[in-house]
């Protein structure tokens, strides 16, 4: 009987291959009006004049909304600070401009073509002030993380400075990661329609209940009067977890005009009206004995954020706990600049911070003349070093053993530049990957029908991870029905709440809630219930606060896992290996093959899990070699705001990707033993690629992305 562990094809596959899957952008509103945004041409200053005459002369234009006439919108707090928003910057609250590309107007017309043309004909004048763009720009403000956020701690133990001073082998290096934008292929559209005081919003979201609660707060109405819908989400990667400021603007426009309004946000506008991964800097100091044992780890991080918001990812939480070491120090600071507020992007904390640590570990391996895999094994631990808590499970060494064998690591020669094939320098690199295993309170309703079919209802989100099929497998296994006979309804805020689909928690959170509802159905049946048997279950994981369900109904998750638990530390681990080829003359860099081995507890559906891990690994290649949002330091403006200039891999960029799943049982993380995998695949790849480039060329590049020009000095 199919259930947990069955390699199942996606039940939503037929819908996705026939055009029958409906995304937020596919709102079925008849005769809508069309909205187009106008965004600011400066990063800091004020609007001094708006000339609407030419724009309103465009045939078909219905109205133009600016700060002068939009009406009251409560800005809201960012999600990182217990709110729902991606930014607290309210774009149409006043004439003030706080970042480049801020929304300054919404043009509404009978057709998309008229709205677009009018948006180009709107004339806005500004009084411009000199903005601070990024690190080192005049006018930035640096604030210690512990000052910016009460939640942030700088993990530390022992005497890292003293131990570093006395260590026989040392690494002291600086690393940097680039600004990145999620760029899901579905644009940041919104469609709003009012009927009898009730608002329906079609918008692709990772956080249905959070979006409706946050929007209600912004509009000053009851969350019960808002219905969020997106049966499918066209890529998310964190970008649709928090609410953007566009939604309330479209809602008010639709209300005033008493017609549905569909907003067609352009690709370039997505770079500035939503969140992104901010650029980071790192200072790593590692001290080790001559046999490779770490005696001191020090990690200092700097992250850019917007002027008003204290957003930070604080990846030292993970990086200070990856290896056994008696002396650890860390510090995170945020740097306020005149930018839009950054936010969650696939493994927000771990991607930049583990990149820095795992590059430094490779440097340490070379300083020791020790195999990089051996160095990881020497420093493996079953207890995290800060508080000494045990890992609930940690299969890092089995991952390294399996991946190294499959990759053929034993044939590697340590010497950089020593492996060549014709005109190509071949490099092999490796790194550890890790990601916290989160779970939140969640709810689900399940119905078992007498004809052997079942229905699962929960307001979780299909962002590509295959949660439709996961829900069906859980119910099928529990209730003894065929997964093909399980109807799964999700992506609708009228369904029982599930947490934000972020932090790789969804499969754990939702599966345990569905499983609990199924248990109740079985209990009812055992007690003699017949006909259609329905059960609604609230699952509160051990470690969640007692009011976790009440918070969930307000769109707030209660994550436990990672470093949040008092009795254990909960992470999934993996080992990643990369082969790069660098052309001897042109320095062109190609990733020819990669192998990743991952241990993440129970794998509900190995078919979709493989795809998720593979996609993550390609994300890591992309971060290491392709992706960077370029910022003009003079005007704090992103300069490559489209899919031709913002480089992501195309099919021809990707070689062989091998995914190995290592069996692991973990009864501590949750009853079903599920650890999330959505973000595990990409974390270590950044460093693995960079380390492979060093092995190929002997040139150590400490800043990603590594491009051809990075290597021309060699």
């Amino acid at each position: 009987m199919a259930g947990i562990g069955t390699a199942a094809l996606r039940l939503d596959g037929p819908a996705k291959v026939t055009g029958g899957a409906h995304y937020g952008s596919d709102a079925p509103f008849g005769k809508p009006l069309y909205g187009v945004l106008v965004t600011s041409g400066i990063a800091r200053g004020r609007i001094t004049a708006i000339d609407e005459q030419d724009a309103r002369a465009e045939p078909g234009v219905v109205d133009i909304f600016t700060y002068r006439n939009i009406g009251k919108i409560v800005p809201g707090n960012i999600m990182d600070g217990d709110g729902y928003m991606g930014t607290s910057i309210a774009p149409l609250a006043s004439a003030a401009i706080k970042h480049d590309g801020q929304i300054v107007a919404l043009v509404v017309a009978d057709t998309f073509e008229a709205a677009s043309a009018a948006a180009y004909r709107l004339k806005i004048d500004y009084a411009e002030e000199v903005p601070a763009a990024t690190f080192d720009s005049p006018g930035t403000e640096t604030v210690a993380g512990v000052v910016a956020s009460k939640k942030h701690k700088d993990p530390a133990v022992g005497d890292a400075e003293g131990a570093f001073a006395g260590a026989p082998v040392k690494i002291d290096a600086h690393y940097a990661t680039a600004t990145q934008h999620h760029n899901p292929i579905e644009l940041f559209t919104t469609a709003c329609s009012w009927s009898g005081g009730k608002l329906t919003v079609w918008e692709s979201s990772q956080n249905m209940w959070g979006a409706k609660t946050g929007l209600a707060l912004q509009l000053g109405i009851s969350p019960d009067d808002i219905h969020f819908v997106s049966p499918f989400v066209g890529g998310a990667f964190g970008s649709r977890g928090s609410l953007t400021q566009r939604t309330a603007i479209v809602a008010l426009a639709a209300k005033k005009l008493a017609r549905p309004v569909k907003l067609a946000t352009a690709r370039d506008q997505g770079f500035t009206i939503a969140t992104y991964r901010a650029e980071t800097r790192h200072h790593l100091k590692l001290g080790a004995t001559r046999d490779g044992k770490l005696v001191s780890v020090s990690h200092e991080g700097f992250e850019v954020t917007s002027r008003p918001d204290n957003y930070m990812v604080s990846g030292t939480d993970a990086s200070t706990r990856l290896y056994g070491c008696p002396n650890v120090a860390s510090k995170v600071s945020i740097v306020h600049a005149d930018r839009n507020t950054p936010g969650f992007m696939r493994s927000p904390a771990e991607t930049p911070y583990i990149f820095a640590l795992e590059c430094a570990m490779d440097e340490l391996a070379y300083a020791l003349n020790m195999d990089p895999v051996e160095l990881r094994k020497v420093n493996d631990t079953q207890n995290e070093p800060i508080k000494g808590l045990p890992y609930s499970s940690r299969s890092l060494v089995p991952c390294f053993d399996a991946a190294a064998k499959a990759f053929g690591w034993s044939k590697r020669s340590m010497q950089p530049g020593s492996m060549r094939e014709g005109e190509w320098l071949v490099g092999w690199g490796t790194a550890t990957t890790m990601y916290p295993s989160n779970i939140s309170a969640s709810t689900a309703r399940v119905t078992l029908f007498p004809n052997g079919t079942a229905k699962v209802q929960t307001a979780t989100h299909e962002i590509g991870q295959g949660i439709y099929t996961v829900c069906a497998l859980i119910a099928a296994g529990k209730l003894g029905v065929d997964p093909a006979n399980v109807i799964v309804e999700l992506g609708d805020s009228n369904l029982p709440p599930a947490p934000v689909s972020g932090g790789s928690n969804s499969t754990a959170s939702v599966s345990n809630a569905v499983s609990k509802a199924c248990d109740e159905i079985l209990a009812k049946r055992a007690q003699g219930a017949n006909g259609a048997i329905e059960a609604y279950a609230e699952n509160i994981p051990k470690g969640d606060p007692p009011d976790a369900i009440r918070k969930l109904y307000k769109g707030q998750p209660s994550f436990t896992g990672g470093t949040e638990s008092k009795d254990s530390i909960r992470f999934a681990f993996g080992a990643q290996f990369v082969e790069v080829r660098v052309h001897r003359l042109t320095r062109e860099i190609r990733v020819s093959r990669t192998t990743g081995a991952f241990a993440a507890g129970t794998i509900v559906n190995p078919t979709t899990a493989r795809s998720q891990l593979m996609g993550g690994m390609i994300w890591g290649i992309s971060a290491a070699l392709h992706e960077a949002t370029e910022i003009d330091p003079r005007n704090a403006r992103y300069t490559n705001k489209d899919l031709a200039d913002y480089l992501i891999p195309v099919n021809a960029d990707i070689g062989d990707i091998e995914v190995i799943m290592i069996p692991e049982e973990d009864s501590i993380v949750n009853p079903l033993g599920i650890k999330g995998i959505g973000e595990l695949g990409n974390v270590g790849m950044n460093a693995a690629v960079a380390n492979a480039v060093f092995h190929a060329t002997g040139v150590r590049i400490r800043q990603i992305p590594i491009r051809l020009e990075s290597l021309l000095v060699a």
């Binding site: 037929p14 067609a264 996609g615």
Partner: protein, 204 residues
């Protein structure tokens, strides 16, 4: 890192780009302009609506549309065929790929009123009885997508890639599928799906 639109360069219909470069007076908006930063006294850009007959998935549809309407928006907003997706509206992502006269075309760069040949979209690929095209089934079998948003464009491109004779090797498939971006990064599985469906697509 090619964005291999060269594979798509052979379509014969008039595109938005060529209209804009050749007929300045009739143009909607120069692409280099920025929203909200207009020059004063711009010429009115709208022209009277035009009538056009489009043959879409073997059905003739008469539309009265703006001359500026792209094929993509005509399909999605006027014919309610939302399977064709908008990912960039700039011909950079491939999500809007459809067939015009049997060739793959970026519908976001194609003006609807310029089309004289039959159009096929993802909704018309399966048989009348609902049985899937071999390429659709192969995408399911190989798990060649995650979120599925780029998938209609990938499948339309994949069918054309095979029919063009560009599926001779893994490397060739990768090259000729590189105009279709997949942010979930299902690329290796897309190659596998095309290999699975190749012979059935060639004979179909």
């Amino acid at each position: 890192m090619p964005n291999a639109h060269d594979a798509l360069s052979s379509f014969s219909v008039i595109t938005r780009r060529t209209i804009l470069s050749s007929t300045a007076a009739a143009s909607a908006v120069p692409l280099t302009m920025t929203r909200g930063q207009a020059t004063p006294n711009a010429e009115p850009s709208a022209a009277p609506p035009l009538s056009v007959d489009l043959v879409v998935n073997n059905r003739t549809e008469r539309l009265i549309i703006d001359s500026r309407t792209t094929l993509l928006d005509a399909l999605r907003e006027h014919l309610n065929l939302t399977g064709t997706k908008k990912g960039c509206d700039h011909g950079q992502c491939g999500a809007c790929t459809v067939h015009v006269g049997g060739k793959r075309v970026l519908s976001c760069l194609t003006l609807a009123v310029s089309i004289r040949e039959p159009i096929a979209t993802i909704e018309g690929l399966a048989k009348q009885d609902g049985s899937l095209h071999p390429m659709q089934q192969a995408f399911i079998d190989q798990d060649a997508f995650q979120c599925g948003y780029c998938t209609p464009g990938q499948i339309m491109s994949a069918v054309a890639c095979v029919k063009e004779g560009h599926a001779g090797s893994d490397a060739e498939i990768r090259e000729y599928m590189s105009g279709n971006l997949c942010r979930c990064a299902a690329y290796p599985h897309i190659v596998a799906a095309i290999k699975q469906a190749k012979s059935a697509t060639e004979s179909g």
